[in-house]
Amino acid sequence: MNTFAQVLNELTDNIYEHSDFSHAYIAAQSYPNLIYTEVTIIDNGISIPSSYEVNNISIEDDIDGLSKALNGLSTKSSERGFGLSTTLRVLREALNSECLIISRGAELVAYKDHMKMRSLPQNEIFNGTLISARIPYNLKKVNYYDYAE
Protein backbone atom coordinates (compact mmCIF):
# COMPACT_ATOMS: atom_id res chain seq x y z
CA MET A 1 0.00 0.00 0.00
CA ASN A 2 2.81 2.40 0.82
CA THR A 3 4.45 1.81 -2.54
CA PHE A 4 1.20 2.51 -4.36
CA ALA A 5 0.70 5.62 -2.24
CA GLN A 6 4.17 6.80 -3.23
CA VAL A 7 3.22 6.40 -6.88
CA LEU A 8 0.07 8.47 -6.44
CA ASN A 9 1.95 11.06 -4.37
CA GLU A 10 4.57 11.69 -7.03
CA LEU A 11 2.17 11.74 -9.97
CA THR A 12 -0.30 14.10 -8.31
CA ASP A 13 2.48 16.39 -7.09
CA ASN A 14 3.79 16.53 -10.66
CA ILE A 15 0.42 17.83 -11.80
CA TYR A 16 0.47 20.63 -9.24
CA GLU A 17 4.11 21.47 -9.91
CA HIS A 18 4.25 21.40 -13.67
CA SER A 19 0.95 21.26 -15.51
CA ASP A 20 -0.85 24.55 -14.85
CA PHE A 21 -4.08 22.58 -15.03
CA SER A 22 -7.66 23.56 -14.35
CA HIS A 23 -9.06 20.03 -14.07
CA ALA A 24 -7.50 16.76 -13.02
CA TYR A 25 -8.97 13.40 -12.15
CA ILE A 26 -7.97 10.09 -10.65
CA ALA A 27 -10.06 7.12 -11.71
CA ALA A 28 -9.77 3.45 -10.91
CA GLN A 29 -11.62 0.34 -11.96
CA SER A 30 -11.10 -3.22 -10.90
CA TYR A 31 -11.34 -6.03 -13.46
CA PRO A 32 -11.69 -9.33 -11.56
CA ASN A 33 -11.74 -11.46 -14.72
CA LEU A 34 -8.59 -9.82 -16.04
CA ILE A 35 -7.04 -9.87 -12.56
CA TYR A 36 -5.90 -6.27 -12.46
CA THR A 37 -6.97 -2.80 -11.36
CA GLU A 38 -6.57 0.03 -13.79
CA VAL A 39 -5.68 3.42 -12.31
CA THR A 40 -5.64 6.55 -14.44
CA ILE A 41 -4.50 10.06 -13.59
CA ILE A 42 -5.41 12.69 -16.12
CA ASP A 43 -5.08 16.45 -16.32
CA ASN A 44 -5.89 19.13 -18.87
CA GLY A 45 -2.71 21.08 -18.24
CA ILE A 46 0.02 22.24 -20.57
CA SER A 47 1.46 18.72 -21.12
CA ILE A 48 5.01 17.51 -20.57
CA PRO A 49 6.43 18.75 -23.90
CA SER A 50 4.90 22.20 -23.36
CA SER A 51 6.31 22.33 -19.84
CA TYR A 52 9.80 22.21 -21.33
CA GLU A 53 8.93 24.75 -24.01
CA VAL A 54 7.56 27.33 -21.57
CA ASN A 55 10.71 26.93 -19.51
CA ASN A 56 12.87 27.52 -22.61
CA ILE A 57 14.25 24.00 -22.69
CA SER A 58 14.62 22.94 -26.29
CA ILE A 59 12.94 19.74 -27.43
CA GLU A 60 13.07 18.24 -30.90
CA ASP A 61 9.47 17.03 -30.78
CA ASP A 62 6.92 15.69 -28.31
CA ILE A 63 8.61 12.27 -28.15
CA ASP A 64 11.83 14.01 -27.17
CA GLY A 65 9.98 15.99 -24.52
CA LEU A 66 8.49 12.87 -22.97
CA SER A 67 11.85 11.12 -23.19
CA LYS A 68 13.53 13.96 -21.32
CA ALA A 69 10.97 13.65 -18.52
CA LEU A 70 11.49 9.89 -18.34
CA ASN A 71 15.23 10.47 -18.16
CA GLY A 72 14.79 12.83 -15.23
CA LEU A 73 15.37 16.25 -16.78
CA SER A 74 13.57 18.70 -14.53
CA THR A 75 12.34 22.11 -15.63
CA LYS A 76 12.98 23.39 -12.12
CA SER A 77 16.34 22.23 -10.77
CA SER A 78 19.08 19.68 -11.32
CA GLU A 79 18.16 18.21 -7.92
CA ARG A 80 14.69 17.35 -9.19
CA GLY A 81 13.21 15.22 -11.96
CA PHE A 82 12.79 11.89 -10.20
CA GLY A 83 9.00 11.85 -10.06
CA LEU A 84 8.06 10.37 -13.41
CA SER A 85 11.17 8.27 -13.97
CA THR A 86 11.08 6.65 -10.54
CA THR A 87 7.34 6.18 -10.68
CA LEU A 88 7.52 4.40 -14.01
CA ARG A 89 10.27 2.13 -12.70
CA VAL A 90 8.27 1.30 -9.59
CA LEU A 91 5.13 0.60 -11.60
CA ARG A 92 6.92 -1.66 -14.08
CA GLU A 93 9.47 -3.45 -11.96
CA ALA A 94 7.93 -3.48 -8.49
CA LEU A 95 4.22 -3.58 -9.26
CA ASN A 96 4.47 -5.57 -12.53
CA SER A 97 2.22 -3.05 -14.20
CA GLU A 98 1.60 -2.15 -17.81
CA CYS A 99 1.67 1.62 -18.23
CA LEU A 100 0.36 4.09 -20.75
CA ILE A 101 1.48 7.71 -20.87
CA ILE A 102 0.04 10.21 -23.32
CA SER A 103 1.15 13.82 -23.26
CA ARG A 104 0.26 16.12 -26.12
CA GLY A 105 1.56 14.29 -29.22
CA ALA A 106 3.63 11.59 -27.52
CA GLU A 107 2.55 8.15 -26.40
CA LEU A 108 4.47 5.63 -24.33
CA VAL A 109 3.38 2.07 -23.69
CA ALA A 110 5.58 0.40 -21.10
CA TYR A 111 5.79 -3.22 -20.05
CA LYS A 112 8.05 -4.79 -17.50
CA ASP A 113 10.76 -5.63 -20.02
CA HIS A 114 10.32 -3.12 -22.83
CA MET A 115 8.77 0.18 -23.86
CA LYS A 116 7.34 1.55 -27.09
CA MET A 117 6.96 5.21 -27.98
CA ARG A 118 5.19 6.78 -30.91
CA SER A 119 4.06 10.15 -32.18
CA LEU A 120 0.32 10.50 -32.20
CA PRO A 121 -1.41 11.56 -35.41
CA GLN A 122 -2.84 15.05 -35.40
CA ASN A 123 -6.39 13.90 -34.69
CA GLU A 124 -5.27 11.99 -31.55
CA ILE A 125 -3.23 14.73 -29.91
CA PHE A 126 -4.25 15.18 -26.28
CA ASN A 127 -3.95 18.59 -24.69
CA GLY A 128 -2.89 17.45 -21.27
CA THR A 129 -1.32 14.38 -19.74
CA LEU A 130 -2.74 10.95 -19.07
CA ILE A 131 -0.93 8.31 -17.05
CA SER A 132 -2.55 4.93 -16.68
CA ALA A 133 -1.38 1.70 -15.08
CA ARG A 134 -2.82 -1.80 -14.99
CA ILE A 135 -1.78 -3.12 -11.63
CA PRO A 136 -2.17 -6.89 -11.19
CA TYR A 137 -3.88 -8.43 -8.21
CA ASN A 138 -1.99 -10.51 -5.69
CA LEU A 139 1.22 -8.55 -5.68
CA LYS A 140 3.93 -9.60 -3.33
CA LYS A 141 4.98 -7.02 -0.80
CA VAL A 142 7.57 -4.67 -2.28
CA ASN A 143 9.92 -2.17 -0.75
CA TYR A 144 9.68 1.22 -2.44
CA TYR A 145 13.22 2.09 -1.47
CA ASP A 146 14.60 -0.79 -3.51
CA TYR A 147 13.46 1.05 -6.65
CA ALA A 148 13.71 4.74 -5.74
CA GLU A 149 16.84 6.79 -6.27
Binding site: N9, E10, T86
Partner: protein, 95 residues
Protein backbone atom coordinates in the same frame (compact mmCIF):
# COMPACT_ATOMS: atom_id res chain seq x y z
CA UNK B 1 -4.73 26.44 11.11
CA UNK B 2 -1.19 26.58 12.44
CA UNK B 3 -0.44 29.06 15.18
CA UNK B 4 3.16 29.86 15.92
CA UNK B 5 4.13 31.81 19.03
CA UNK B 6 6.47 31.46 21.97
CA UNK B 7 4.06 29.05 23.65
CA UNK B 8 3.49 27.01 20.51
CA UNK B 9 6.57 26.49 18.41
CA UNK B 10 6.09 22.83 17.53
CA UNK B 11 4.26 21.85 14.35
CA UNK B 12 2.89 18.31 14.34
CA UNK B 13 2.86 17.53 10.63
CA UNK B 14 0.58 14.49 10.82
CA UNK B 15 -2.01 16.47 12.76
CA UNK B 16 -1.88 19.64 10.71
CA UNK B 17 -1.55 18.08 7.26
CA UNK B 18 -1.71 14.33 6.86
CA UNK B 19 -0.01 11.09 7.79
CA UNK B 20 0.80 10.92 4.10
CA UNK B 21 2.97 13.92 3.24
CA UNK B 22 2.98 14.35 -0.52
CA UNK B 23 3.11 17.85 -1.94
CA UNK B 24 5.96 20.31 -2.35
CA UNK B 25 3.54 23.20 -2.07
CA UNK B 26 2.65 22.15 1.46
CA UNK B 27 6.30 22.58 2.43
CA UNK B 28 6.56 25.95 0.72
CA UNK B 29 3.47 27.20 2.56
CA UNK B 30 4.79 25.80 5.83
CA UNK B 31 8.15 27.53 5.52
CA UNK B 32 6.52 30.76 4.43
CA UNK B 33 4.65 30.66 7.74
CA UNK B 34 7.84 29.83 9.65
CA UNK B 35 9.88 32.52 7.94
CA UNK B 36 7.21 35.15 8.55
CA UNK B 37 6.82 34.26 12.22
CA UNK B 38 8.50 36.11 15.08
CA UNK B 39 10.09 32.93 16.37
CA UNK B 40 13.78 32.23 16.02
CA UNK B 41 13.28 28.50 16.49
CA UNK B 42 10.56 26.13 15.26
CA UNK B 43 10.20 22.38 15.68
CA UNK B 44 8.82 20.12 12.96
CA UNK B 45 7.50 16.99 14.62
CA UNK B 46 7.02 13.97 12.35
CA UNK B 47 5.30 11.79 14.95
CA UNK B 48 2.66 9.52 13.32
CA UNK B 49 3.74 10.35 9.77
CA UNK B 50 3.43 7.13 7.79
CA UNK B 51 4.47 8.12 4.28
CA UNK B 52 6.58 10.94 2.91
CA UNK B 53 7.09 11.44 -0.80
CA UNK B 54 10.53 12.01 -2.23
CA UNK B 55 9.33 15.42 -3.41
CA UNK B 56 8.13 16.43 0.05
CA UNK B 57 11.39 15.29 1.65
CA UNK B 58 13.47 17.14 -0.95
CA UNK B 59 11.47 20.33 -0.51
CA UNK B 60 11.95 20.14 3.27
CA UNK B 61 15.72 19.82 2.80
CA UNK B 62 15.81 22.71 0.32
CA UNK B 63 13.76 24.86 2.69
CA UNK B 64 16.01 23.99 5.64
CA UNK B 65 18.98 25.01 3.52
CA UNK B 66 17.44 28.37 2.66
CA UNK B 67 15.70 29.46 5.86
CA UNK B 68 17.40 31.77 8.32
CA UNK B 69 15.38 30.32 11.17
CA UNK B 70 16.51 27.48 13.38
CA UNK B 71 14.22 24.60 12.40
CA UNK B 72 14.57 21.39 14.37
CA UNK B 73 13.30 18.00 13.23
CA UNK B 74 11.85 15.62 15.81
CA UNK B 75 10.42 12.10 15.94
CA UNK B 76 11.34 10.91 12.48
CA UNK B 77 9.85 7.45 11.90
CA UNK B 78 12.38 5.04 10.32
CA UNK B 79 10.83 5.05 6.85
CA UNK B 80 10.67 8.85 6.85
CA UNK B 81 14.28 9.01 7.92
CA UNK B 82 15.09 6.63 5.09
CA UNK B 83 13.52 8.96 2.54
CA UNK B 84 15.57 11.90 3.79
CA UNK B 85 18.69 9.72 3.63
CA UNK B 86 17.78 8.67 0.08
CA UNK B 87 17.46 12.28 -1.11
CA UNK B 88 20.64 13.43 0.65
CA UNK B 89 22.68 10.52 -0.67
CA UNK B 90 21.87 11.14 -4.33
CA UNK B 91 24.67 12.62 -6.39
CA UNK B 92 22.46 15.50 -7.55
CA UNK B 93 21.83 16.75 -4.01
CA UNK B 94 23.79 19.81 -2.89
CA UNK B 95 24.15 19.89 0.88
Amino acid sequence: MITLNKDSKTIYLANHFSRNLAFRNTVRNLFHLINESDLDEVILNFQDVEIISRSFAHEILVSLRETEKKVLIENLPPNVQRMFDLVKSHKSYSS
